[in-house]
């Protein structure tokens, strides 16, 4: 009896550790952003649709906003666009676009053709602002609260599920 107790104990411990690891491991390849709970990185970038205007992160202080990182070179962004239009129409939270390493003319044409869900779009031609936000693949969407703190990040195309379960409840004050 005693002979099996130690190996059994070791096995049980290992099983528990691995079970915890599996339950807590995020989707493959998705990395938790270190930005969550921290102030949103500031930026001052040219506006895509209003020539001469600068979009500043401070402009959004005091209200909720979604920062959506996209580019016309990004296939998933096209897939996501329909959802973004729904979000834009809902009026629940303003969408701010960050056009990442893109061509202005193409980006403008994209919004003309597919519709523009954004309140405003900032142009990050060098990709420097995206690095500050820890962006590693478009599309990525960040939810920022009125205090300017990043509260949620979604990597990949935004779907109805994230919108109803993760974003809206936070904006409506149910979930922090």
């Amino acid at each position: 009896m005693n002979r099996f107790l130690v190996p059994l104990g070791v096995f049980a411990l290992l099983a528990i550790v691995l079970a915890i690891g599996i339950r807590h491991s995020p989707d493959k390849g998705i990395i938790r952003s270190p930005l969550i709970g921290k102030p949103a990185p500031s930026f001052a970038l040219p506006a895509l649709l209003e020539p001469g205007r600068t979009v500043r992160s401070q402009d959004f202080k005091g209200r909720w906003y979604l920062l959506n990182v996209w580019g016309t070179w990004c296939g998933e962004c096209r897939a996501e666009h329909e959802m973004l239009l729904t979000v834009g129409k809902s009026g629940a939270v303003p969408l701010i676009g960050l056009d990442w390493k893109d061509d202005d003319a193409q980006a403008q044409a994209w919004l003309r053709q597919l519709g523009n869900p954004y309140e405003t779009v900032a142009v990050d031609r060098s990709g420097r602002a995206a690095i500050d936000w820890g962006v590693y693949g478009a599309p990525e969407t960040f939810l920022v609260n009125p205090a300017g703190i990043v509260v949620y990040k979604h990597v990949g195309a935004l779907t109805q599920a994230e919108w109803t379960h993760d974003i809206l409840p936070r904006v409506n004050g149910g979930k922090s």
Partner: protein, 147 residues
Amino acid sequence: MKRAAVHTLVLQSLMLFASLGWALDTTVLPDPALQARYVALTHELRCMQCQNEAIADSPVDLAADLRNQVREQLLAGKSDDEIRSWMAARYGDFILFRPRYSWRNAWLWGAPAVLLLVGAWFSWRIVRTRTLLLADDHEPLEEDLRP
């Protein structure tokens, strides 16, 4: 003929490896010491898009942007640790191929020492039981009984 075949094979493999060594990153910093640090740092930062490659070896755009950041910050006089922290603040510790010690991962760092101690305790116990068994063993071996 055999020799020639071996030579061809060696040559082919050399060519294969030479092609792998083609520099993707042709950055050269003015100071050799800075250059050495640049090479070391870009090899220990993960490319977040390809995830199993260092930014030094990755052809994607983001890796080039991050290499550029390393270069600019080195030229601005930042220390290696400051650059690592800068990267980790944006992309998390995941970007560091060489993880940093923290209380969250202390158990992981401590595990080898703990396992070594556990192993030492087990072997001590086994050796002790066997020694005791031997001391208790008064039965003479068959060989010893032979004239």
